[in-house]
């Protein structure tokens, strides 16, 4: 199952794109997606504590993803 991940802020720099498509294996949890991203983009590991939003709602790592889900990753931003 393919999931589209949209990145904001510094996460966009790390995945080098505003959007990236990730193929999920049998484990379809947000936590599994998090591990896949860390494997693919080593820098991503440093953002490990961050939350994911799925279809406009913040979710926990146990949340199961469905086909067509839109995942958004938002790191903190400090500028003023």
């Amino acid at each position: 199952m393919d999931i589209t991940v949209t990145a904001f802020g510094i996460a966009k720099d790390i995945i080098k794109n505003k959007e990236v498509i990730i193929s999920l294996p049998s484990d379809r949890s947000v936590g599994a997606l998090r591990s896949l991203l860390s494997n693919k983009y080593p820098e991503f590991e440093k953002l490990a504590s961050l939350k994911f939003a799925v279809n406009a709602d913040y979710v926990e790592d146990g949340h199961e993803l469905k086909a067509g889900d839109e995942v958004v990753l938002i790191p903190p931003v400090s500028g003023g």
Partner: protein, 378 residues
């Protein structure tokens, strides 16, 4: 309660449906504290003063500098080097002399935050660093004050409203529901490091002021429980629903935070827990009087040309290629404009095997302040 002049000044919003004289009187009775009179602070302060907020607190310990002026539109070029809070107060009083302005020329810290914030109805976060953002969030939570959050990075902005009590008396989510713990500092670039398009704080700061007006008057729907994300590059936006998270140390299942903490330490937690040693301008001067410490200046050529204290110039982005020019058998004092880039340089040098590294706290701006006021500001 509104006098004749006020009825005219605010007429265009008084005639709005659901606003009326009543809405205007609520603004007049309200007090708002704006933390940071910089990029986000400028539109917040201008539009809140124009709208008729009765009392406005302005907190900023910084001085106007040339590189502020591409986005901090409250200031004049001739005001470079002056206190931002004071200059802002002067300018805003000219716009609306009926407002009561209160200025704070010092940093907000864990020791003074509760006292300062307690005097205001609503707080605006227009700060430019993560420790202050966590500090202000926690202080507003402990005091039960609504906090209007805004932050910017390059072409992107975020807006939300925290701690707002709804009609059922329930307190809305806060910053720690969005970002429970900060990532390492190198992944949270400031405007100085990551850059920012000058007009972005105009958009985001104005949106914050709009949220303040809704919080105070009760009209419309605020961004409580929602995080608004905006991308100026393609004019797309997105709104995420935010709920209380079980992991929030203030409101979650295990609320362990009961008072303000050391936010600098909380946000600087580097991989190895390594602390960067810092030196004050005065101590460095004493060192220089006794010998010749190696001073590494990691600013750009044109900054060095404007003012320097005689250090060896290697701009940060050339550092990796010029490590051979730095001694590894003596202490190296690293400096930049305000002390941020020099910390990055120290991280880089540390990873390359250098050990005896010291950061000039506050950079050349602090040096100018404490040691040599004749240095040119930029």
């Amino acid at each position: 309660m509104l006098n004749k002049e006020e009825l005219i000044r605010y007429n265009r919003q008084i005639i709005l449906p659901d606003f009326g004289v009543e809405g205007q009187e609520k603004l007049k009775k309200a007090s708002v504290l704006v933390i940071g009179a910089g990029g986000l602070g400028a539109p917040n302060l201008m539009y809140l003063a124009a709208a008729g907020i009765g009392r406005i607190g302005i907190i900023d310990f910084d001085e106007v500098s040339l590189s502020n002026l591409h986005r901090q539109v409250l200031f004049k070029t001739s005001e470079i080097g002056q206190s931002k809070a004071e200059v802002a107060k002067g300018r805003l009083s000219e716009l609306n002399p009926t407002i009561d302005f209160v200025t704070f020329n010092s940093p907000i810290t864990s020791s003074n935050a509760l006292d300062i914030i307690n005097d205001y109805d609503v707080v605006v976060d227009g700060s430019d660093n993560l420790p202050t953002r966590y500090l202000v969030n926690d202080a507003c939570f402990f005091l039960g004050k609504p906090l209007v959050y805004g932050a910017i990075f390059r072409f992107e902005g975020q807006v939300s409203v925290f701690n707002l009590i709804d009609e059922k008396g329930l307190k809305g989510p806060n910053y720690r529901d969005l970002f429970p713990t900060p990532p390492p500092p190198e992944l949270v670039p400031s405007c100085t490091e990551g850059g920012v398009i000058g007009v972005l704080p105009g958009i985001i700061g104005s949106m914050q002021a709009n949220e303040v007006i809704k919080v105070v008057t009760g009209i419309g729907e605020t961004l409580t429980g929602r995080l608004f994300l905006f991308d100026a590059l393609d004019m797309t936006s997105r709104t995420l629903n935010v709920k209380h998270q079980p992991s929030n140390p203030l409101t979650g299942d295990h609320p362990e935070l009961t008072e303000l903490i050391d936010y600098e330490a909380f946000c600087s937690g580097s991989d190895e827990g390594r602390q960067i040693v810092e030196i004050s301008p005065r101590t460095l001067m004493e060192k220089m009087a006794k010998g010749s410490p190696f001073i590494l200046d990691v600013r750009e050529d044109y900054e060095y040309e404007i003012s320097n204290i005689g250090g060896v110039l290697i701009p940060l982005n050339q550092l990796n290629d010029r490590l051979g020019e730095i001694p590894n058998n003596e202490e190296v004092v690293v400096m930049c404009k305000t002390g941020g880039r020099s910390k990055k340089a120290i991280d880089l040098l540390f990873k390359s095997g250098f050990k005896d590294l010291v950061n000039l706290k506050g950079g050349i701006l602090a040096w100018r302040h404490e040691i040599d006021p004749t240095l040119k500001v930029y």
